[in-house]
Amino acid sequence: MGEYKALFTIKMNHLRELEAEAIYIIREVAAQFERPVILFSGGKDSIVVVHLAYKAFWPAPLPFPLLHIDTGHNFHETIEYRDALVKKTGVRLIVGSVQETIDNGKVKEETGYNASRNVLQTVTLLETIEEYKIDAAIGGGRRDEEKARAKERVFSHRDEFGQWDPKNQRPELWNIFNGKKHLGEHFRVFPISNWTELDVWQYIYYERIEMPSLYFTHKRKVFCRDGVWLAYAPFMKLKPDERVEEREVRCRTIGDITCTGLSLSKASSLEDIISEIASSRVTERGSRWDDKRSDAAMEDRKREGYF
């Protein structure tokens, strides 16, 4: 085991406590399930989860693969980051393709100006879970993101149809997580449930985690739709009054390119981002098109098996 090099001293604070809780949860997944995956979107939350999992099992490699549900409408920076991460860590990558689900006629592509593949992802996700017999999918969901998520358990049970029943969830006491299930059922597990957006960025800063360039300010071709700045991509349909222009923007969340709102920002470092968020007046999901469809949009998608 070599000799002890420089020894670290750990100072306890809220970040270390959240980290300890998350590592504990990730290790519980490894101990209680046979075929877990980490849902990897390329966004900051899933990047933090991968980092925590790496710490949880070092010096062993990650004991589970990453699962990326690819809508085909990605920022190219996301795919580059994903591939570099896979190369660096040697982790196995499973890709579930929404395009394939569409080509197989399982779902119908939305049309119109606000067409998005965000909702279609659920079908691809559930198919992939079934195909690979995945019994636990670890996600980067946080309870502070959205009202419906605030009620979700850390070990969240899904029936054989992938559905979530918010009124009949297992009570979760102390640090005891009950992952017992019948054949065909699975769990979604959220190790960073108790983190906020600010905690995530503070932790990234603390741990010096490398992030995709999309989170920092950059010049990009964008257009404004109903007050939200969206990235322009050739397959997107513009309304007559919408104009493509170049602006200095950054992503606060990263999802499908069609529904990820960008913020006008000059934040170029982690320090800038942390102070921007600490003084922010709008939630990170405030610019997500997928949540604006109705007041209970997230709850409806989650019941059906969304992330």
């Binding site: 809220h14 290790r27 070092w58 006491l173 709008v282 709850e299």
Partner: protein, 417 residues
């Protein structure tokens, strides 16, 4: 950059209509933790319902059916910050059939906020909430006497409620018991001090929360590391490596420490403590670490790493308090799965001693079976000897859940006495 904050978890409890969701909405709103888009969404819904003022409860009622019925169904977690603290609220419903949620919320809390309607005084629900906070070992209980605006800010109901709860606390003592007159709706004494209660000289709820001692002295307790998972890299570079991964639930550990593995009583020595790639000088509760030991031992999930001088107890007969969560009542001598920390076995409940009567908070000698939301004292027998501590000494090794083998549901929670 606010990198060094203390984490305080508290739970809130109150009966239906005591204004709990409104109180949390008020805490978030007045501490500026509500964002513009959330405010906008709540204004829209409030207008649609024809409310005359902003319905603060809408910030927390998350599921559509809750918003329609105006009641909270499930435990919801909320987060807010002040410069030195990060707060996690476990918001638990007041509905009687959802009492299990208060036990859930209380199980990880450092403090409990109990709401009492100034007009109604103490109800059975208040007693139940106080008892659960007491039973779950919460050291700080803050009783908020709410709706002071509806009793014209008169001090009389406040002092009556205070007197009665102090009387209860003589039998069921907590370390830190605080009373605050508030109006969640109008904001009195929640974040801002109120001019309407000149007879009250204490702190606001927010000031009180910021001053709560976190009582996290668990790193000074006896060493307990439940082994969660064994790390075996299968890499040339780490050929002989075998790491025992787990969360330090109590105590402190350093390289060179002598340890005893329970339940096998094998002795060994710690050769390293690490968190990811960082080798640590020392590690303490509640960190999740990995340990390596000098000897090649047969050591797996469910074992406990302890100090030879301060060993836990071992027995297959336990005296316990159990709270029941399931529609189907508890059956004596039926086989259940028991999970404590990372350890699991089968068990039977072999004797019933008493049930708690929530009207009087007395121990009632009853042989009637334990039903959902009831709490009682039992003798339990496990299929293999259990390594444990009393709940009052170490929470993690003194608590367990019961699982139904047919449905896989968590049907009860217990604390070892």
């Amino acid at each position: 950059m606010y990198l060094d904050m203390e984490l305080l978890r508290f739970t809130t409890a109150g009966s239906v209509d005591d204004g709990k969701s409104t109180l949390i909405g008020r805490l978030l709103y007045d501490s500026k933790s509500i964002f513009e888009d959330q405010l906008e969404a709540v204004k829209n819904v409030s207008n649609q319902k024809g409310d005359h003022y902003l319905d603060l409860a809408l910030f927390t009622d998350g599921l559509r059916s809750e918003r329609q019925q105006g009641i909270t169904i499930d435990v919801a977690y909320r987060y807010f910050y002040t410069p030195k603290h990060k707060f996690i609220i476990a918001d638990t419903p007041g509905h009687i059939q959802y009492t299990r949620n208060m036990v859930t919320g209380a199980s990880t809390a450092n403090a409990a906020v109990i709401l009492v309607d100034a007009r109604n005084g103490i109800t059975e629900q208040t007693l139940r909430h106080y008892y659960i906070a007491y039973l779950l070992g919460i050291k700080s209980i803050i009783v908020c006497i709410n709706k002071m605006d509806l009793v014209n800010y008169s001090s009389e109901p406040y002092f009556l409620i205070q007197e009665e709860i102090i009387r209860i606390s003589q039998k069921l003592p907590v370390a830190n018991l605080i009373f605050i007159p508030i109006s969640a709706l109008k904001g009195d004494n929640v974040v801002k001090p109120s001019a309407n209660t000149p007879w009250y000289s204490g702190q606001t709820l927010m000031q009180t929360l910021e001053a709560i001692p976190i009582y996290n002295h668990s790193h000074r307790g006896p060493l307990r590391v439940p082994v969660q998972y064994v790390i075996r890299p299968m890499l040339d570079e780490f050929h002989d490596y075998r790491g025992y991964a787990g969360r330090i639930e109590s105590g402190t550990i350093r390289k060179g420490d002598k340890v005893m593995i329970m339940p096998s009583y094998m002795l060994s020595e710690v050769t390293s403590v690490h968190l990811g790639e960082n080798f640590l000088e020392e590690a303490y509760a509640p960190l999740s670490v990995a340990l390596t030991l000098k000897d090649d031992l047969d050591l797996d999930r469910g074992c406990f790493i302890c100090q030879p001088e301060q060993l836990p107890q071992t027995s297959s007969i336990l005296e316990v308090m159990i709270c029941w969560f399931n529609m189907i009542p508890m059956k004596l001598n039926q086989l259940y799965t028991i999970r404590q920390s990372t350890w699991e076995a089968k068990c039977k409940i072999i004797a019933q001693h008493y049930k708690i009567n929530f009207h009087t908070l007395s121990e009632e000698n009853s042989q009637e079976e334990l039903k959902m939301n009831e709490i009682g004292r039992f003798t339990l027998k496990t299929s293999r000897p259990m390594v444990f501590d009393k709940y009052s000494q170490i929470r993690s090794t003194g608590s367990f859940i019961l699982i139904d083998d047919n449905t896989n549901e968590t049907i009860g929670a217990g604390m070892i006495q």
